[in-house]
């Protein structure tokens, strides 16, 4: 990887200039947005953008650990769809017996977390114990969850019972002190993630495993356990993201969470984590997520560009955001 050409250029957390890369890109976007549309910085719009980012954001934090430890997970999008479907089915199923209300919501949440844990465990097991390329494993599970949800929904859409929707709705739309729950949860996950990455042994071990798993093994780090845990945590976070997602529209279908995996991975890399593993930073990922959802937002707030070209603009900005970063790196 070009990143390791023996020169002394490398990201040193918090120190060198390339840290500025993502932040700069974000700032540029904010400025552009503000100059294009006066409502861009309105509380409403900011709340919208942040709340929307929460799903990908929460997942991307987990993805940061997976990638840092040298792994990859393409299945998160379909996994989210599948878990959402499951959650809805369970809640609809228990509605007659339990009736609409918070107890049932908690059952739903539990379902999501348990399913997420299990899904993460399956990925982790196939990758660590069966020693299969993470890419293949998660490509496989991606297809599996996607078609399972299609099957559960009979090709259509699984919708949460209306009565229940009213109960669960606040989880996405309400909040604390004017900050909506998704934003709060995202913030919490990000902060905890950042601390774990920098201040807990697990973060170090993940980086060590990603940097050189043999060395980690010789240094009595339980490599398989670390790898497994990264996938399980990711699974749990997918569950959490789903808990935020279901209340929004109260439905899940085969088109739920399509391409979330690519967005999450892109966010992680834009944030400065190395795809080959060995170095990761959660705060960078958060910025990456914000960059991605700001692009969408800005494109919607501006006319002029043919909507057909949105994808192209997105692509260009993603690449630019990373160039910016690499350039800085070169100097640092």
């Amino acid at each position: 990887m070009t990143a390791t050409t023996g020169t002394t250029r490398r990201p040193r957390p918090g120190i060198d200039l390339h840290v500025l890369g993502p932040i700069l890109a974000l700032l540029v976007l904010v400025i552009v947005g503000a100059s294009l549309n006066s409502n861009f910085l309105s509380a409403a719009n900011i709340t919208n953008v942040l709340s929307r980012s929460a799903f990908i954001g929460i997942i991307a934090v987990g993805m940061t650990f997976v990638i840092t430890s040298g792994g990859l997970d393409l299945s998160v999008g379909s996994m989210a769809a599948f878990i959402a479907g499951l959650m809805i089915l369970v809640m609809n199923g228990l509605l007659p017996t339990m009736g609409p209300g918070w107890p049932l919501v908690f059952v739903g949440m539990l379902t999501a977390i348990v399913a997420g844990t299990a899904a993460g465990f399956v990925n982790g097991f196939l990758i660590t114990s069966m020693r299969i390329e993470a890419f293949i494993v998660t490509l496989g599970t991606m297809g599996i969850y996607r078609s399972l949800v299609t099957w559960l929904a009979d090709g259509g859409t699984l919708s949460l019972d209306f009565g229940m929707r009213a109960v669960i709705r606040p989880i996405y739309f309400e909040g604390l002190l004017g900050i909506s729950w998704p934003i709060l949860v995202f913030a919490l996950v990000a902060i905890v993630g950042e601390i774990v990455m920098r201040r807990a042994a697990f973060g170090r071990h993940a980086a060590a495993v990603g940097s050189n798993d043999q060395v980690a093994r010789y240094s009595s780090v339980n490599v398989n356990r670390v790898r497994m845990l990264t996938y399980v945590f990711l699974g749990i976070l997918v569950g959490v993201a789903t808990i935020m997602y279901v209340p929004r529209l109260g439905s899940a279908s085969s088109s739920t969470g399509v391409l979330w995996e690519l967005e999450a991975i892109a966010a992680v890399i834009i944030g400065g984590t190395m795809l080959k593993g060995g170095f990761g930073r959660v705060w960078g990922t958060v910025i990456g997520v914000l960059i991605l959802s700001l692009i969408d937002n800005i494109l919607n707030l501006t006319d002029g560009v043919s909507p057909y070209l949105n994808g192209a603009i997105q692509g260009v900005i993603i690449v630019l955001a990373v160039i910016l970063q690499r350039e800085r790196k070169a100097e640092g």
Partner: protein, 500 residues
């Protein structure tokens, strides 16, 4: 007194090849035991078996007299048996401190106690008086520092038995001294120490007991005092190697092979100028980190550098090693593991990688490659368990030999050899020195970078001494004494002399 750790009748085979046969060794607490032998004799394998990285095919390992079967290196380490690998065993992207405490992080509650770990790392490195910062990333520090970090890592593990596989291979005498002080200290604390080295003077100096391996069998064992260096060498190699450095025959040619003016490698070397005659062997000495490697890497286009270079009188601009090679100039790296060889590939692929075109007329001539390999194996006496083996499974020294063979295959007019005999046994050293002289006699020019003062003096016609990226001076003929060189290298009362 019961041995802290002992092997009895240990055998080990890899596939069909047996590399160890009936090895018995006992390490006593508070004593230093030296294990020596040719490249591929089985030293590292023995050490790996002692420390749980490898399981013996037959035989018993006993800890404090009790037979044990280590579940793995963790298990062994848990019981106080620690191995410092021959090859670096550090995670590149992590910092020094992170590496030292990897797997044994200090915690305060759920969190890491970074302050404590930083402090302790600093203390450990201080003890080894190594200047590198605990915050530095391992990828950026020098080989010597990496070695010191490895040692610090081992020291941090409260070893009862400390096993060091060629710890001094990348160290100069100065740093080796520091290491030996630590060894003395551990000895005093009753730690049993086993180490191996190809520098027999060290062995003679610091070890109490000695075991000599040849072809995986113990050929001689006893108190070190009972051996003199020539004796050791002879027991190892099986022939007389007392005259290590060959007589300099054949005069230096008239023509200038290489002329360097004001070579500057940003951050590593400034205004380096020298010239090299045809058939000359130029030594390049200096302390670790003096920038010798970087200077030469700049010269052959591996690092961005400025300055003018003339080869055979003609000015050339060398932007890449490919261009340098085309101009007849090759550099042999000091870092065989991460810059020299593809560890997951076979010997053939590695041997011919540098000059594949020679073997290619639109398709690679595999037969010719095999022939070249056969020749190299014979010429450099590479001991491999099988031709197909991944070079990562070759013994350290044999990797080094393969690396030299690889570069020599390009048949350069001028070759820069960085640490040519690092990790090579005395017998083979002799062969390599012979080989270098043969090159010189054939009119080729050689630059030898070495941290072994004796080696440079023994080999070179003329020695340049570098200090913090500059040429501190030049010595030749009778001036070529350790004292003179060290003074220049450390900048003690050395008038800045212009390089010829």
């Amino acid at each position: 007194m019961t041995a802290a750790l002992s092997l009895a009748g240990i055998c080990r085979s890899f596939g069909p090849v047996q590399v160890l046969g009936d090895v018995d060794i006992a390490l006593a607490p508070g004593r230093v035991h030296a294990l020596i032998g040719e490249n591929g004799a089985g030293k590292s394998t023995t050490m790996k078996i002692m420390s749980g990285y490898l399981a013996p095919t037959r035989g018993t390992v006993s800890l404090n007299g009790e037979p044990v079967i280590f579940a793995g290196s963790q298990d062994a380490e848990g019981r106080g048996v620690v191995l410092i690998h021959q090859e670096f065993n550090l995670a590149d992207q992590l910092t020094v401190e992170q590496n030292i405490f990897l797997g044994h992080e200090k915690r305060r509650g759920p969190f890491l106690d970074k302050a404590a770990m930083q402090a302790e790392s600093r203390a450990l490195l201080e003890r080894l008086n190594c200047r590198v910062s605990p915050r530095a990333t391992v990828r950026d520090i020098s080989n010597a520092d990496k070695q010191m970090v490895e040692i610090a890592k081992a020291l941090s593990r409260e070893a009862r038995v400390l096993i060091m596989d060629e710890p001094t291979a990348v160290l100069t005498e100065r740093e080796a001294e520091v290491l030996f002080e630590q060894v003395e200290r551990l000895k005093a604390e009753g730690v049993a120490v086993l180490f191996t080295s190809h520098k027999l003077d060290e062995v003679a100096r610091i070890s109490d007991d000695l075991t000599i391996l040849r072809d995986g069998r113990v050929v001689s064992q006893g108190l070190t005092a009972g051996f003199d260096q020539d004796g050791m060498a002879e027991a190892m190699v099986g022939r007389d190697v007392s005259s290590l450095y060959p007589e300099r025959r054949g005069a230096i040619g008239p023509g200038t092979a290489l002329e360097v003016r004001g070579l500057t490698v940003p951050g590593h070397a400034t205004d380096v100028s020298f010239s090299l005659r045809k058939g000359e062997i130029l030594g390049l000495s200096g302390l670790i980190g003096s920038g010798r490697t970087e200077t030469m890497e700049g010269l052959v286009g591996l690092r961005s550098a400025t300055g003018e270079v003339r080869i055979g009188g003609k000015p050339v601009s060398l932007k890449s090693p490919k261009q340098a090679q085309a101009a007849g100039l090759c550099y042999l790296t000091e870092d065989r593991k991460s810059r020299g060889l593809l560890l997951d590939k076979g010997m053939r692929e590695n041997l011919t990688l540098q000059c594949l075109p020679q073997f290619t007329d639109w398709l690679i001539d595999t037969a010719a490659e095999e022939a070249a390999l056969t020749k190299a194996i014979a010429e450099f006496d590479i001991r491999a368990p099988s031709r197909g083996v991944a070079v990562g499974n070759l013994s350290g020294g044999n990797q080094q030999k393969l690396l030299i063979a690889k570069v020599m295959l390009a048949d350069p007019d001028t070759v820069i050899i960085d640490e040519p005999t690092r990790g090579i046994d005395i017998g083979t050293k002799q062969q390599i020195y012979e080989f270098i002289h043969a090159l010189a006699r054939a009119g080729k020019s050689i630059i030898v970078i070495s941290s072994e003062m004796q080696e440079v003096i023994g080999l070179a016609d003329r020695i340049l001494v570098m200090r913090t990226g500059r040429i501190a001076g030049e010595v030749s003929g009778v001036e070529m004494t350790e004292d003179r060189i060290v003074r220049l290298a450390m900048g003690l009362g050395a008038r800045r002399e212009e390089a010829a």
